[in-house]
């Protein structure tokens, strides 16, 4: 008996004292921590993949059709109208009645991507301390992508919401307030976007064969030129949330854009051939035009496309093609009936199926699918397609370049680049007599961009940049709604409202003119 007592007592004392001394700290079992990450080249790869993944999530969604590429770039334009299964958010976009709770009014995804870029920028340079195989070139190429991605996100924010909250460092300490005010668009462009892109260009290894899925030498040039094009002509608010005024850059920025387009032509494309930018031969052929979208890695023209792997990332559902039950968007009836009348244009049937009538007409954007017609793309089998959203490609660059040339009074060369695209599409080239002025050429380019880049997330930004929103969209919106009158508040409503969710957590945010929290 005494023995048992002794055993129990000593065991208990052991448990008591032993237990107290033992620390009860536990670390995550299925996740890493910042202090244990960024130790090898592999970590750089997955850190970059995380950054692209975050951007992809914003653009293409997570497999359920919740990507916003089409909402920001297309849904407010005349390219798309109401689909079979609409929802309040989409109706708001189509009718120019955006509210602060619209699904696409939230900029969180861009800031999440910026945050991953910031974390990479802060930590990737240290990797070489732990992994000898990581060369400065590897680090610089990685950093270049991070800077450029950060700039791309801010560029989207500036174009969509105008003002932006500037975050250039990663946020890790919750005891420090994360509430910050916005900066006006010009400040964001001048102090973040352009310096980041310039730095990215200086860091990136030149003359390498591009991987189309990643930001590469040509991509950086393309974004930077695009930024200058925007700054040159887009109506921009001069203060945070203020009324939209005139453009900031003007003619000088068209020259800047031309410089960067020329830099772009020096870079090599996905097949190892330089983009050159000298003729229509640098573009994909008319016959293989669709390869740009279905197989961008094998074509000479693509610059940056977003990768998708449906086996890992699930359905590449986009709002104009595949939803499990109906699409929120469809090709707008006006363009659906007008464009096919240009019978010589080989792009029409590759973009959508104009033969469908009735309720399914224009339901599917076929551009991103390797199928001949709408009947072959039912929602069941389309679940297994990959959709590679195009961010930049040489065709886009040619038309922008043409625009920049026209704006700097080089109508001859502008016409040349415009015609490369027209001829490739199967159309006859414009003559100089047909487009005698900058304005006429600008209009022709804008029209060509609508056809060539249909469903590539550009149309809305083009309309804003060329200050044609009101003239193009008022008739469209008035035909959709009898009770409102288009962009009555133009140009203020060119921006989206800052979301209610963003405002809830950051009381310093100022709403854009024309909207209320």
């Amino acid at each position: 008996m005494k023995r048992i007592a002794t055993i129990i007592t000593s065991l208990s004392i052991l448990a008591l004292t032993g237990g107290c001394k033992k620390d009860i700290s536990l670390l995550p079992q299925s996740a890493g921590t910042v202090s244990t990450f960024y130790k090898s080249g592999k970590d750089i790869t997955s850190g970059l993949a995380g950054m692209y993944g975050s951007f992809l999530q914003e653009m293409a969604g997570t497999g359920t059709g919740n990507g916003k590429y089409f909402y920001w770039g297309e849904a407010r334009s005349d390219n798309f109208g109401v689909g079979a299964t609409t929802n309040v958010s989409v109706t708001e976009m189509l009718n120019n009645a955006l509210t602060t709770n619209n699904v696409a009014a939230d900029w969180a995804g861009f800031y999440r991507t910026i945050s991953t870029a910031n974390l990479n920028i802060a930590n990737i340079p240290n990797v070489s301390q732990y992994d000898n195989s990581v060369t400065p070139t590897v680090i610089n190429n990685a950093l270049a992508q991070c800077y450029a991605m950060r700039a791309e996100c801010y560029f989207y924010i500036v174009r969509t919401w105008g003002s932006a909250v500037i975050w250039k460092d990663s946020y890790l300490d919750p005891t420090v307030s994360a509430v910050k005010p916005q900066a006006p668009p010009q400040q964001v462009i001048d102090s973040v976007i352009i310096p980041d892109l310039t730095k990215a260009y200086s860091l990136i290894q030149k003359g390498q064969t591009a991987t189309v899925w990643y930001i590469n030498e040509a991509t950086i040039c393309a974004i930077l030129a695009d930024v200058y094009m925007w700054r040159a002509s887009a109506p921009v608010a001069t203060t945070v949330g203020g009324q939209v005024g005139g453009p900031i850059g003007g003619a000088a920025d068209y020259a800047n854009a031309i410089t960067w387009y020329k830099n772009l032509f020096l870079a090599k494309g996905p097949t190892g051939v330089a983009y050159a930018g000298t003729s229509g031969a640098n573009l994909e052929t008319q016959a293989n035009w669709k390869n740009l979208f279905t197989a961008p890695a094998t074509s000479i023209e693509p610059i940056w496309s977003l990768n998708w792997d449906q086996t890992v990332n699930s359905c590449a559902c986009i709002p104009v093609s595949i939803q499990s039950s109906g699409n929120p968007l469809r090709v707008d009836p006006a363009i659906y009936s007008s464009w096919p009348k240009i019978t010589a244009d080989t792009r029409v049937t590759k973009t959508f199926d104009p033969t469908v009538v009735g309720s399914a007409a224009g339901q599917y954007l076929l551009k991103y699918y390797n199928v001949p017609n709408q009947a072959t793309l039912t929602s069941q089998n389309a679940l297994a397609y990959n959709v590679y959203l195009t961010m930049y490609r040489l065709g886009d660059v040619y038309l922008s370049y043409a625009e920049a040339l026209a704006q700097t009074n080089d109508l001859t060369n502008g016409l040349k680049y415009l015609n490369y695209i027209r001829v490739r599409a199967g159309l006859t080239a414009y003559t100089a007599a047909q487009l005698p002025t900058t304005a006429a050429m600008e209009t022709a380019i804008l029209q060509e961009r609508q056809y060539e880049l249909f469903g590539e997330g550009k149309r809305w930004f083009d309309l804003v940049r060329t200050n044609t929103v009101k003239s193009v969209m008022d008739p469209v919106i008035n035909s959709r709604l009898t009770t409102t009158t288009g962009f009555i508040n133009a140009p203020n409503l060119y921006y989206w409202p800052v979301s209610q969710t963003a405002h809830n957590a950051n009381g310093l945010l100022v709403q854009n003119a024309g909207y209320f929290f």
């Binding site: 129990i8 921590t33 993944g53 919750p174 069941q380 963003a502 957590a505």
Partner: protein
């Protein structure tokens, strides 16, 4: 004869016999003494007395004082059961017999013939050769089993004495025992006893039914006279207070509610929530009795937490658990609910939401007891919703929508496929069948006892293919080789399997799918989708969502008594829970078309949870002198929890009958695995002091560490104290002794901690691969920061509760009343604060804000009638609880627990209340386009001279009036999202009068928390019959009928979804209609439905429910003797029989899921009805056998 006449006659009869009685107190006598052979009259009088006022009832409780000895008895019986003899003696003598019917099972029939004998002499004859003895106590004859023969023990001290009551009357039959030994005796007819105590340190324990026990240390005395105080059975109950300690209920300082095995048995529960419902004040239970896998939710004293769990902590036989789902309620011996801080403090680390202590049944020494029960219950849908007929829906679509020509409404009348008339409720729901088999055996011999239970539940619920089967076993073995050492072992195993039918695809489709569409494809298969709507039958029958849970638990505890006062306990517990899920969607369901045509998808998941706990504690208890009792506990505990989960996703299964992963293509998008763990460590101590049970004091201190907090904040200290004062023992209260047996005031205050937030919230985590929304990019796995930023500064959430309570016992324990008031302040609330999105994160865990809860609780128990043949017990409780007030919030920043300002009906603000519904006020529907007209101050104008243009369904007016006066000012129109509202649009109250209806016009229009809730249990026993009726109610809470709201939102003017039936007849469709529901064509463009924030769908959730009725018949001992059974009971049982409510959904009561682990905040969204598993009404029968 009218009942009251009979009553007065009977009263006179007794009054003449016993002239010293006051008439008003004779009614009780009337029902206790006069009963044999007059059952019908007694019953009718019983019904009568139900109607008597409380005053009369209270008077009736009063016990009649003793009759004189010396009654003469004449009796001739031949081979008559003892019980029958008692009946005759009772009639002749007026004496009551107090006995336990089990005792009489072994009694022998009596044969005797006496004339004018003394009662005591007759009794002596009756009890001769019986295994029983008797004592005459006042006017009651107490029947007892013959005392256990005295054991040989070292004889050191012979002690003698007399035991008497407070009035000095000797009490015969008192058990006197030497504590910790088997030496025992009983007092004789003169209250005298003599016993041999082993030494001077021995403690004598005096106990007797109806009196509180007393312990006395022998010391150097040879003669010990004891005065026992009368009490009632409730107050002699022992209440478990945790860590091996228990205390007499009368000595509690805190607020503890007890539910015993008998109450549990009467309620016939399947889950713990069923067992608790309506049984205790301050405990709000929502059970899910329709859902075979539902476990219900239990909220103790309001929601005191924001994002962290609000569920209580379960302590099962000393082992800490977050739920008690694996227990079979019939294996439970008692449940104690520790509501206040002082009581729960000993479980400080996780007791902030209350602690529920469950003690399971253990064996007793003696012959084996075998108990078997079986019941079968039939269930049906408790509340059928109105359904939509095809003709109604067609009329709605064609007749009421001017712009509608086709789309389901114009169907080919000879097309069989589109001319069905489906009532989906009737097709989808069937009669439920529930079978339960239960077998338990217990017993033991000297030093070793055992209890083993086996339970099998087969529940096929009301939705097709929805079932659950549970097999539970438990074995408790206690080994006590000597007085000092005791080892208890418990081993439990559970196997549970069932099919969880997807509610969205079944119940959710009741109105979604057109009733005229066939359920079958032309070739006779169940159709999958049709018109993009799911076929509810196909989803219920063809989809597989199979759960299999294997749970094993082992617990061993060693108790060692160093001395009589000091005891050491060490226990170890391990629990392995293996939860397997197999989900399979056949291709006929995934295609989105009639015949499916998609690919089959599915997954199997394995979730292995392993936890262990180690506890060591010392208990000390000693009474110094006779008046000073000191108790103390000190100990240490550690708990670990490890959870590993893996999911194998598959698609394109080769066959649809085998589901293992090799049959399909592995789907990387759904194939994941994860692991998480947490641990806590605690040191605790409790001290108690009692002076004569009159002044009672307890204090608790606890230091807890949790792995969920950062290195600097792991540890939290929690203290509490409780005081109680038995003022009825004070001399100035002597006057009340006649009515008030016991009265105690108590106060407690204490702190409790809460660490229920996600594991690792203190550290920044980098997520890999498919832990991120995008698992890989271009073949490279992604690494991304967790969107929840780690916060190393988070620390324990602390709930401080003050409890004011009183325990009152009247009329010798036949009436008890317990009022309580509490103030519960939860501070340092753990919650997930939104971070500015621009930082790149969504949220971070923070300690911020406070919630203030207060409430009143009243508990009454009473025995209005108690006689050997007929008893009536009442137990009632009522709770008035205010919704928790958020007194402090993160820098005052309000937040939406779900959605955003235009979708969330809940809004947590500083000064706001938890559960407030924050919605737009729906004032009806504009009759005309021109009805949308307001004066500048927001007053609505009335249009005059309205002209309707029927061609385009518009209207014009010539002018307006305001309050009957012509109005000439500017006309203001209300807009929704900038669009002016028209005829057929919902009229919203423009709170801020800015002319635009948006999130800022939401207002608080109710709270989900009931104003009060009550439970009432009545049990009546008459001869072999026992009837128990449980009623519970919640009054004043609101429920948001999101199911109806969604149906109206999804309803379309063309085809597909139907609105709720009410909307078919009261929706606007042309100028001039006075309607409740808006114009279906325009509802989306004008925001007329405002899903989730529309006051039209905010309904009164009050209900009164006849929760359970059980009528048991226990067979007489005569029959039992023949088959050697101890008892046999047959019963009829009904559950959820009737519900009185105005709520239009299935049921206003449903569980709000709380998920503490992942930080989801459903506790902030109570009363949100999205279409839960419909409740069933059950009726059935059962049998209890006891050998």
């Amino acid at each position: 004869m009218p009942a009251n006449e009979k009553l007065s006659q009977a009263t006179k009869l007794i009054a003449s016999k016993q002239p010293n009685f006051k008439p008003d107190i004779q009614m009780y006598k009337n029902f206790t003494a006069i009963k044999c052979g007059r059952q019908s009259r007694v019953l009718s009088k019983f019904l009568r007395i139900m109607k008597l006022t409380l005053v009369l009832l209270t008077a009736a409780f009063m016990q009649v004082s003793a009759a004189t000895y010396g009654q003469k008895i004449s009796l001739t019986v031949e081979n008559t059961p003892l019980e029958k003899v008692f009946d005759q003696l009772r009639q002749q003598s007026g004496y009551n017999f107090l006995y336990n019917s089990q005792m009489l099972e072994r009694s022998k029939p009596v044969s005797l013939s006496v004339k004018n004998e003394q009662l005591s002499a007759v009794l002596n004859q009756c009890f001769k050769d019986q295994p029983l003895t008797f004592i005459i106590n006042q006017n009651t004859i107490v029947v007892k089993e013959k005392p256990i023969s005295q054991m040989a023990a070292p004889v050191i001290i012979d002690i003698t004495g007399v035991v008497s009551d407070a009035k000095g009357q000797p009490i015969p039959g008192v058990t006197v025992k030497v504590n910790g030994t088997r030496v025992a005796t009983v007092t004789d007819i003169n209250g005298k006893y003599s016993i041999k105590a082993p030494d001077e340190k021995s403690t004598l324990v005096f106990s007797f039914i109806g009196f509180s026990s007393q312990s006395v240390v022998v010391g150097n005395r040879k003669s010990i006279n004891i005065t026992l105080l009368e009490t009632n059975s409730n107050l002699t109950e022992v209440v478990v207070t945790g860590y091996g300690q228990s205390v007499a209920k009368r000595d509690l300082t805190g607020s503890i509610a007890t539910i015993d095995a008998k109450q549990i048995q009467e309620r016939q529960p399947v889950t713990i929530a069923d067992a608790l419902e309506g049984q205790a004040a301050g405990v709000l239970v929502a059970n899910d009795n329709g859902d075979p896998s539902g476990t219900g939710t239990v909220t103790i004293r309001g929601m005191g937490s924001l994002n962290s769990g609000t569920g209580p902590l379960y302590v099962i036989d000393g082992v800490i658990n977050t739920d008690a789902d694996f227990l079979n309620p019939s294996d439970i011996a008692s449940i104690e609910i520790l509501k206040d801080a002082a009581s729960a403090a000993i479980y400080g680390s996780r007791g902030a939401n209350g602690v529920i202590i469950i003690t399971t049944k253990h064996g007793q020494e003696g012959k084996p007891t075998i108990t078997g029960t079986y019941y079968h219950l039939f269930g049906q849908l408790a509340h059928e919703l109105p359904s939509v007929s095809p003709s109604e829906l067609r009329k709605f679509r064609v007749g009421k929508n001017t712009n509608l020509a086709t789309g389901g409404a114009n169907t080919d009348s000879v097309n069989r496929y589109l001319n069905q008339d489906n009532d989906y409720q009737k097709l989808l729901l069937k009669t439920a069948q529930k079978n339960q088999y239960n077998l338990s055996m217990s017993g033991g011999q000297k030093g070793i006892t055992y209890y083993t239970g086996l339970n099998y539940l087969d529940d096929r619920s009301i939705i097709l293919n929805s079932y659950f089967k549970t097999l539970q076993t438990t074995i408790n073995v206690d080994f006590q080789p000597n007085d000092k050492l005791k080892v208890t072992n418990n081993l439990s195993f559970l196997y549970r399997t069932g099919n969880d039918v997807p509610l969205f695809a079944t119940i959710g489709q009741l109105y979604e799918r057109n009733p005229w569409t066939s359920l079958y494809t032309p070739d006779g298969q169940l159709a999958g989708y049709d018109e993009t709507k799911r076929n509810p039958l196909a989803w219920a029958i063809l989809q597989t969502n199979l759960n299999k849970t294997y749970l094993g638990q082992y617990n061993t505890a060693v108790n060692y008594g160093f001395t009589r006062d000091l005891k050491l306990t060490a226990s170890f517990n391990a629990k392995l829970n293996n939860i397997n899920t197999q989900v399979f969607n056949p291709s006929s369901l995934t295609g989105g078309t009639l015949n499916g045509g998609g690919i089959s998808t599915g997954y199997q998941s394995v979730d292995i949870q392993f936890s262990w706990a180690l506890q060591t504690y010392l208990n000390f208890s000693h009474t110094y002198g006779t008046n000073h009792t000191v108790t103390a506990t000190a100990g240490f505990s550690r708990e670990n929890f490890q959870d590993n989960k893996s999911v194998l996703g598959d698609r394109n299964y080769l066959t649809e009958t085998v589901f293992t992963s090799n049959i399909g293509t592995l789907d990387p998008t759904t194939t994941v695995s994860s692991a998480t763990a947490h641990a806590t460590e605690s040191l605790f101590a409790r001290l108690g002091y009692s002076y004569k049970s009159r002044y009672i004091f307890t204090a608790t201190g606890r230091r807890d560490g949790s792995s969920r907090f950062g290195p600097n904040n792991k540890w939290g200290d929690f203290f509490s104290t409780g005081l109680a004062w038995r003022f009825s023992d004070e001399s100035f209260m002597k006057w009340s002794k006649k009515y008030l047996d016991d009265a105690k005031l108590r106060y407690s205050v204490g702190q409790l901690g809460n660490d229920q937030l996600a594991d690792y919230a203190f550290i920044n985590q980098i997520y890999f691969g498919n832990a991120n929304p995008i698992a890989s990019y271009n073949g490279n796995g992604t690494a991304q920061m967790n969107q929840v930023l780690g916060n190393p500064t988070i620390k324990w959430e602390t709930a401080t509760t003050q409890n004011f309570g009183m325990d009152l016992t009247f009329l010798k324990g036949r009436l008890t009343f317990t009022p309580e008031y509490y103030i519960k302040n939860t501070s340092n609330l753990l919650y997930s604060a939104s971070l500015p999105e621009e930082s790149g994160y969504k949220s971070t865990a923070v300690n911020i804000g406070s919630i203030h809860n207060t409430g009143w609780e009243f508990t009454v128990t009473g025995t209005p009638i108690a006689s050997p043949k007929f008893t009536w017990n009442v137990s009632a409780n009522i709770t008035f609880q205010k919704p928790g007030v958020v007194t402090e919030l993160a820098s005052g920043t309000p937040f939406y627990p779900t959605g955003n300002s235009t979708t969330s009906p809940y809004y947590i603000t500083q000064g706001g209340r938890i559960g407030d519904f924050y919605v737009l006020k729906n004032l009806g529907v504009y009759q005309y386009d021109v009805s949308n007209a307001y004066a500048e101050d927001g007053e609505m104008l009335s249009p005059v001279g309205v002209v309707v243009n029927t061609t385009n369904n518009t209207s014009t007016a010539t002018g307006y009036t305001l309050n009957g006066q012509p109005y000439t000012g500017a006309i203001h129109q209300l807009k929704h999202n900038g669009v002016p509202l028209k005829g057929g649009s919902t009229i919203w109250q423009d709170v801020n009068n800015d002319g635009n209806i948006d999130g800022s016009d939401k207002q608080i229009l109710g709270n989900a928390m009931p104003d009060f809730y009550w439970g009432l249990t009545n049990s009546f026993s008459y001869k072999g019959f026992l009837l128990t009726v449980t009623v519970n109610a919640q009054v004043g809470g609101k429920v948001y009928n999101e199911l109806a709201n969604l149906q109206n939102l999804n309803s379309a003017n063309t085809t597909y979804s139907s609105p709720i039936p009410a909307a078919l007849y009261s929706a606007w469709y042309k100028q001039g209609d006075i309607a409740t529901y808006p114009y279906v064509v325009n509802k989306d463009a004008y925001g007329d439905i405002s899903n989730g924030i529309n006051s039209l769908y905010l309904e009164d959730g009050s209900f009164v429910r006849l929760a359970a009725v059980k009528l048991t018949y226990n067979f007489s001992s005569k029959l039992l003797q023949k088959i050697k059974a101890r008892s046999i009971g047959l019963y009829l049982y009904g559950d959820n029989l009737l519900t009185w409510t105005n709520y239009t959904g299935f049921d206003p009561e449903f569980s709000t899921n709380t998920n503490a682990a992942n930080g989801t905040s459903n506790s902030l969204t109570p009363g949100w009805d999205t279409g839960k598993y419909p409740k069933r009404r059950e009726m059935g029968f059962g049998i209890n056998l006891n050998f």
